[in-house]
Symmetry: C2
Subunit: 188 residues, 2 copies
């Protein structure tokens, strides 16, 4: 039997995307965004949505660029902090001892200590309702060498990304491997 | 030290969204979509992106509706199958013994045996590049009573959702709880 939960924004998994931007004074900022994900393969694009009132919203409109930083589970407190406090009032890089590095490709900063980074050029702005969706073209991904294995790609057991449960407001880690994509379904 | 991985569509976590639609003949179809996520709070909306060549693309344009089904990890093979085979050639509901149920709110089917379902009315179509993004307004969420706990919301340890690693093409389960959102960050 199914029960109705109403018109809500619950989906599994919900990502924890740490968005890096500069303001008009060149001050770097970080913000946790839960509404987002990849939205196109060619060109490779990521979409992030946020309210107009956020500091990051103004920064992206101004700089036409942002980074998306994926953190490891040992930084879940920092990730939560980036979503709790506004960059209008606090230097979130300094407060969490993260070193801002200016991307060599786009007008946005990433965190030197963060393991996995997308550098994005603003491609499209979509007004939906309470939220503006910014579509960014991914110009490069940069990853810490320590999380890359012999395949040349991240080992998820080293990266240890985490996600969010919006129904219970809980962060959760990565679980066990369940099977290969575009492969296990062929048994059916 | 950071290594450049190039302009790619890798993000963690990548969801596995099983999209339900009807075609012009009222035949129900299911498709696995990895490019998507919540994109607005008010109205509550979810965005899913797919290539024009997919059967689901035509169905959504025609019916202006879709469902998003979240599966449990015991159905990871079925989820992979929905992404491997086209609904043009196969009845994916029948092949996986899933019973199509017509939503009472939108012109789209969901799977009776699926634990968590979003019923969506098409709100916006955004052409990005290789992919079209469909923004759907979530009119209701329906969840199996067996996965709902005393809070009235899903217990993630009962739902057991999974996600995708696009770099390694691997499905992964839900890991351990790491902390409460809008809470643990306040320690900083």
């Amino acid at each position: 039997m199914k029960k109705s939960l109403g018109a809500r924004t619950i989906i599994y998994p919900t990502p924890v995307l740490i968005v890096g931007t500069y303001d008009s004074q060149e001050r770097p900022n970080l913000m946790a965004v839960a509404w987002g994900g990849i939205c196109c393969s060619t060109p490779p694009c990521v979409a992030i949505s946020m309210r107009k009132a956020t500091y990051t919203h103004g920064n992206i409109k101004l700089r036409k660029a942002f980074t998306v930083n994926i953190l490891s589970e040992n930084m879940v407190k920092e990730a939560d902090y980036y979503g709790v406090v506004s960059g209008k009032s606090e230097d979130k890089f300094a407060k969490t001892n993260i070193t801002p590095v200016k991307s060599d490709l786009v007008d946005a900063p990433y965190g030197k200590e963060f393991p996995f980074i997308l550098e994005c050029k603003l491609l499209k702005i979509v007004e939906i309702g309470s939220h503006t969706q910014f579509v960014g073209e991914i110009l490069d991904i940069k990853a810490e060498e320590s999380i890359i294995d012999s395949s040349g790609f991240p080992d998820i057991e080293k990266l240890k990304p985490f996600f969010f449960d919006p129904a219970k407001s809980e962060y959760l880690g990565t679980g066990k491997k369940l099977g290969k994509g575009f492969s296990i379904g062929k048994e059916i």
